[in-house]
């Protein structure tokens, strides 16, 4: 918030949110403190309760909704239909946002959620192009929010079981993808080998930039080819596309990275704050300024450009 963010996503320190990493997130008391700080800083607190409640343990997620409402969250970000129903019927005045994990990638799916649960904003999946985002923003019955920096999901979020296939833990059920608990690195003569579960995800020669073994960002073999079959370990940096995104009618820009360090968060937020100021002054956007903070030390505009498919 000090760096200029207008709203911050927070999660409770359990599997109710999709950044369920060790040592991260908030107890209810800490989240209440955060909400107070936010109000004083004229910023908003969004509470992410965006994993899919486990059958039989739905109370954990419902209690998270209750707590978030009680401490005055400006919006809850949800994905599960059952939980959306609970929140919308129990707290009709609470602003609800639709998480990218709900996989609403078209006007019709968005309309379903707006009609059923009165969601006020949808976070769009990262597999859409700018043209598609513009078309959706124009027609959708609610605000739209798009990712502009950070981790890039090349599969549709919320419907991906790659992580649970390899490790037994998934972003949908447990709030983690390619979890650190199942990561191993070891050096073989200067080559760094990264593994996830029982699978080698990548090898990095001495001196070459390394990357976290996110499953879909690994190097594999198929049809006598070896390489990044799904995606390279790059991060999204859509700063050059800010003018196009503003024109497309998007309401909010989302910076991914609740699991990143203070240094990272502060740097990235300032960078985009400055970029927006440049945009307001009709000056050209910077490009590649944040390369050092990106996965594999390189960046991409992801699916926003049509050629990505």
């Amino acid at each position: 918030m000090d760096a200029g963010a207008d709203a911050v996503y927070c999660g409770f320190n359990d599997e109710t949110n999709a950044r369920n990493f060790p040592g991260l997130n908030f107890t209810p008391e800490q989240l209440a403190q955060a909400a107070v700080y936010a109000r004083a800083a004229n910023a908003k607190t969004f509470v992410a309760i965006n994993t899919f409640p486990r059958a039989g343990d739905q109370q954990l997620w419902q209690r998270a909704v209750d707590t978030a409402v009680r401490i005055g969250a400006d919006a809850l970000i949800l994905a599960d239909v059952g939980l959306l129903h609970y929140a919308a019927s129990t707290y009709p005045n609470q602003r609800l946002h639709l998480s990218v994990q709900a996989a609403a990638a078209s006007v019709d799916s968005i309309r379903y959620f707006v009609d059923a649960f009165r969601i006020r904003r949808v976070v769009l999946p990262r597999v859409l192009s700018v043209a598609e985002i513009a078309a959706i923003s124009a027609e959708a019955a609610c605000e739209t929010e798009v990712f502009v920096f950070g981790g890039l999901c090349v599969m549709e979020e919320g419907r991906c079981s790659l992580s649970s296939y390899a490790t037994g833990r998934s972003p949908n059920m447990h709030g983690v993808c390619s979890p650190a608990s199942h990561v191993a690195y070891h050096e073989e003569d200067g080559t760094l080998v990264s593994r996830l579960g029982n699978f080698t995800i990548n090898r990095f020669a001495a001196g070459k930039a390394a990357a976290y073994p996110t499953l879909c960002k690994g190097r594999f073999r198929a049809a006598q080819t070896e390489g990044y079959l799904f995606e390279e370990p790059v991060s999204l940096d859509a700063v050059e596309l800010l003018p196009a995104l503003r024109q497309s009618g998007v309401s909010a820009l989302k910076i991914e990275g609740r699991q990143r360090s203070r240094a990272y968060v502060e740097t990235v937020v300032r960078y985009f704050k400055e970029a927006l100021a440049l945009l307001d002054a009709a000056e050209p956007m910077p490009a590649g300024g944040l390369v050092t903070l990106t996965e594999g030390q390189s960046a991409t505009t992801g699916a926003y450009r049509r050629g990505w498919r």
């Binding site: 599960d80 296939y165 037994g168 579960g197 799904f230």
Partner: protein, 317 residues
Amino acid sequence: MKLTLGPVLFNWPAAIWRDFYFRMADEAPVDTVVVGEIVCSKRAPFVAPEMPAVIERLRNAGKEVLLGSLILVTLERERRATAELAAIDGLGVEANDMSCLSGLNGRPHAIGPFLQVYNAATAFYFAGRGATRICLPPELPAASIATIALALPNVMTEVFAFGRVPLAISARCYHARLAGLSKDNCRFVCQEDADGLDVETLDGEPFLAINGVQTLSHGCTNLLGDLAELAAMGVGAVRLSPQSCDMVAVARAFRDVLDGRLEVGDGLETLARVVAPARFLNGFLHGRPGVEWIDPVRPPQPTAGAGDRGCGRPSAR
């Protein structure tokens, strides 16, 4: 328990696709068949002309026919096709994307394994708006399946029980990407791989399979040995996902085990022969990594712990 034949996920040439369904209609002991191109809308025009004959043949053979909707809807023409499907009268629809639910408007329908039904509340919500059967996401563990099936006795709960299991869907075509093409000019290279394209790790370990915009497991889900447990939970049907192997033999093995005519061990041997050289997996059901195979006949040895730790003492997990 009923047997459902899932939609063909791969890009089979239209004549092969048609003949496959004719044979399944005539010979396979399945109760419900889901037809339709659900992975990639670019493929739909090729099977569309064969659909009426296939549907008729299946219905004449006493099979219930459902039309599957596209998993990921993003393009305008995909929106239109999905809306048209949802409006069809006289044939059941299986919704694989929320956009399809939007068009169904409360009419009775089925829910496919690509909608996120992870708990009873969500299943209940969908049932209240017309869902009469729900095929659950393949990554659900037995405990969740049982809870949902128990909570909704009037909805047919279905579990994905055979075939390469869908793990992810994207707007990017990985078949095209591998061939140096893009989805727009793909030349339908996916048609070369009847069961998808095998993906291995750099160590040569079989890992995944690519089917256009869809990523699947390399191994073949096989819950033949878990059928009794599923039945006890209240699961109403299991889904067999078509591969290029002899699916009639697969369906018969499942039917015979369910009816008590075939021992699980013998059934597994039959399936192993039918799908050779594929490896089986059933990890998801057992709350383990999906890639694992917990042999129902010979229980596994206790494992040392998750992941391969490079150094240090084994941690007490």
